[in-house]
């Protein structure tokens, strides 16, 4: 009995030690980021480097925001993110209904086509898309970053919604049909209200993707009045050198919405990841 207990204890100790080392390794970069963000100029290039900023320069955060047009970029990032997330989630929710709750000839073939588009690297379409958006005068507007989201919401989101809808019993649909409800009403009043978890999950993924997107803004946005935050962070890298303390402060500020969302909605992050991995 004793040896079994000892084995269990040593097992627990091993797990805790390994996890502690691992999580320290995962936390260090963030700690380092915060430490750098708070360092006075004189300490940035101290050798060997110091862990603790002395004194902590809380003013760096204010200075970072004032270093570049933070609020204008924040506004653009917010506009793009809110609209793109709404577009992706809403249109994927609608499209997935057509695949999950309606029977029609060719459905499986078309759905296969949806999944097949996941295989095409975005680089293939990037160049012609740029040419098309150029011709219709959308370059240097937020439109190329927003409008495509409203058309199908991305194959991955359609897939997520379809999988979820299929777990909603058919009886709801059948009962509503008997009552003479249109499919649009069923979607709007019965299916959508039951789909909050998948809406949350898809929104989170869409949010992460849009908020952090860099290649799209680099290609399509030219004038600072249209810049989003990821582009704005580049301002700290000047030809003559980098303002590391302010840059780290600004990067942290840009990450804060993601971190907040993560802590409040971690359940949905996990669910979303799990769904994407398991529902094959």
């Amino acid at each position: 009995m004793r040896s079994l207990k000892a084995a269990r204890t040593s097992y627990a100790v091993t797990v805790y030690v390994l996890l502690t080392i691992g999580s320290l390794a995962f936390l260090f970069p963030l700690v380092w980021m915060l430490s750098t963000a708070l360092k006075p100029d004189s300490q940035l290039f101290a050798y060997p480097p110091q862990w603790l900023p002395r004194p902590p320069m809380w003013g760096n955060f204010k200075a970072a925001i004032e270093y570049f047009p933070f609020w204008a970029y924040f506004r653009n990032s917010t506009i793009v993110t809110v609209l793109a997330v709404f577009g992706q989630v809403f249109s994927a929710a609608i499209v997935a209904y057509g695949f999950a709750k309606l029977r029609w000839p060719g459905r499986e073939v078309v759905f296969f086509l949806v999944l097949a588009t996941l295989m095409i690297p975005s680089q293939v379409t990037m160049i012609p898309q740029f040419v098309i958006f150029t011709r219709i005068g959308w370059v240097d507007t937020l439109l190329p970053l927003i409008v495509p989201s409203f058309f199908g919401g991305g194959a991955f989101n359609v897939f997520l919604f379809r999988q979820y809808y299929r777990t909603i019993p058919r009886e709801y649909n059948d009962a509503a049909r008997i009552d003479g409800a249109s499919h649009w009403r069923i979607f709007w009043q019965i299916i959508l209200p039951q789909s909050k978890p998948v809406i949350a999950t898809a929104s989170i993924f869409a949010f992460l993707w849009t908020w952090n997107d860099f290649m799209g803004p680099v290609i399509y946005l030219h004038s600072p009045k249209n810049f989003t935050l990821p582009i704005g962070l580049r301002a700290f890298q000047q030809q003559t050198g980098t303002e590391w303390d302010l840059l780290m402060a600004a990067s942290l500020i840009v990450m804060i919405p993601v971190i907040l969302l993560f802590f409040f909605l971690q359940r949905y992050f996990v669910q979303g990841m799990a769904m994407s991995g398991l529902n094959r």
Partner: protein
């Protein structure tokens, strides 16, 4: 009209002109540049405001973008048909854009004066197939900066910096200190600062131009220059040397500013960095030490007019204004730039400064690197990997340069096949 008093008539005319200028006849012009922060941004703000005031019939909107992203932005915007009427661009590859047809020839505006007002070296950079496609807004020039305090401490005369490679090597050896395999003070490093292999080759008499008009890298003079670089790189241990280069990422970590490097090749904007990060540094400036051919390497920023501008006349007036001696002088004072306009660069205010006089003198011998339409980035694509291989010791200088030559010729061939 006779009944109307003269001053009223003038008033009416002035009113008309200003109303016309601001309300309906005003020509809109856009101008893009790289000044997005600091005094340079404030300066350009002021210059454009002055221009708008002095030219009520034109309204210039200008835009500064971060240096690192500017080039992609300008290219994609131009491709998107929403590029600016006038833009700053790279003085080193003007012919690429001229050949593509994205920028407009300026000869009809320049007239008989041509490029007389600007540094002769810049002419080669802005001309393409008989046309002039850009103006040299600012060029730059590389010289030797040296630390007078360290010179004195090493028993060297702070007032006679090295003038030849031999003297440079001797001074470097005297100035280098090594402790436990770590360089604590370096005399001179061939890869530190604003310098690279083509400059050393030029100082050794190489111009890279082949008889057929293409480029040639595997020449005796180039090989000798590369061998010299390799020798200098390994003189105090290659690992220790690479450590130094890595630390050199601008700002406060610059080893010359911190007194860890005694001699460094930098361009004419460097005194501004010294003033910011090491105001107490006692330094001197000298013509580049050479191996037979006194020269330097210049590049810089051009001013170009979009081929698709709807208002070339107004665009030209802005360009002409930006190139005028008064604006160029102010530009030079603000940005410490070697401006393209000679009269501005040689104005008494600037020439009062001994450092500036060295820049101007060096500018007289300086040259641009040759341009290749088929391989515009020939240094990055063909040469740099080979130079690095030679510096790391994985290839001999001969082999590196002959590989670079082959790589360049292949690039030319690929360009011709796909264009």
């Amino acid at each position: 009209m006779r009944t109307v008093p003269r001053h009223l008539r003038i008033l009416a005319a002035a009113l008309f002109i200003s109303v016309a200028g601001t309300a309906w006849a005003q020509t809109q012009i856009t101008f893009w540049h790289i000044f997005d922060a600091g005094p340079a941004a404030e300066f350009i703000d002021g210059v454009i405001a002055d221009f708008n005031t002095a030219n009520p019939d034109i309204h210039v909107t200008h835009l500064g973008t971060n240096f690192w992203d500017y080039w992609t932005r300008l290219t994609t915007a131009t491709a998107g048909g929403i590029g600016p009427d006038v833009a700053m661009n790279d003085l080193g590859n003007v012919p690429s854009r001229a050949n593509m047809g994205t920028i407009r020839a300026l000869d009809d505006y320049l007239g008989d004066k041509g490029l007389d007002a600007f540094w002769p070296a810049t002419a080669a950079a802005v001309e393409w197939q008989g046309g002039t496609y850009a103006l040299p807004l600012e060029t730059d020039v590389r010289v030797l900066f040296y630390n007078k305090t360290l010179f004195a401490a090493a028993g060297l005369d702070p007032n006679s910096p090295p003038t030849t490679w031999e003297e440079l090597v001797a001074a470097s050896d005297a100035l280098t200190k090594i402790e436990n395999g770590r360089i604590t003070q370096l005399g001179f490093g061939p890869t530190l600062g604003n310098t690279y292999f083509p400059l050393y080759a030029m100082l050794n008499g190489e111009d890279f131009v082949a008889e057929d008009g293409g480029l040639k890298f595997d020449t005796p003079a180039a090989t000798e220059a590369l061998q010299w670089m390799v020798d200098r790189q390994n003189a105090y241990g290659s690992r220790a040397m690479t450590s130094f280069s890595a630390a050199f990422s601008g700002g406060a970590s610059d080893p010359f500013l911190s007194g860890q490097v005694a001699m460094i090749i930098q361009n004419n904007t460097y005194p501004g960095l010294i003033a910011t990060y090491a105001p107490d540094l006692d330094y001197g400036v000298a013509l580049l030490p050479h191996n037979g051919t006194p020269t330097s390497w210049s590049n810089g920023f051009s001013l170009e007019m979009s081929a698709s501008t709807a208002n070339p006349d107004a665009a030209w007036r802005l360009m002409d204004y930006l190139m005028s001696p008064a604006v160029q002088l102010a530009y030079a004072t603000t940005n410490l730039s070697m401006v393209g306009n000679i009269a501005a660069a040689e104005s008494p205010e600037l020439m009062a400064n001994a450092t500036w006089r060295v820049f101007v003198e060096q500018m007289g011998t300086s040259a641009f690197r040759p341009f290749s339409l088929e391989a515009p980035a020939w240094y990055d694509t063909a040469l740099q990997p080979e130079i690095d291989a030679a510096l790391l010791g994985t290839k001999t200088p001969e082999q590196a340069l002959s590989d670079a030559q082959r790589s360049y010729e292949n690039e030319v061939r690929r360009f011709r096949e796909t264009n």
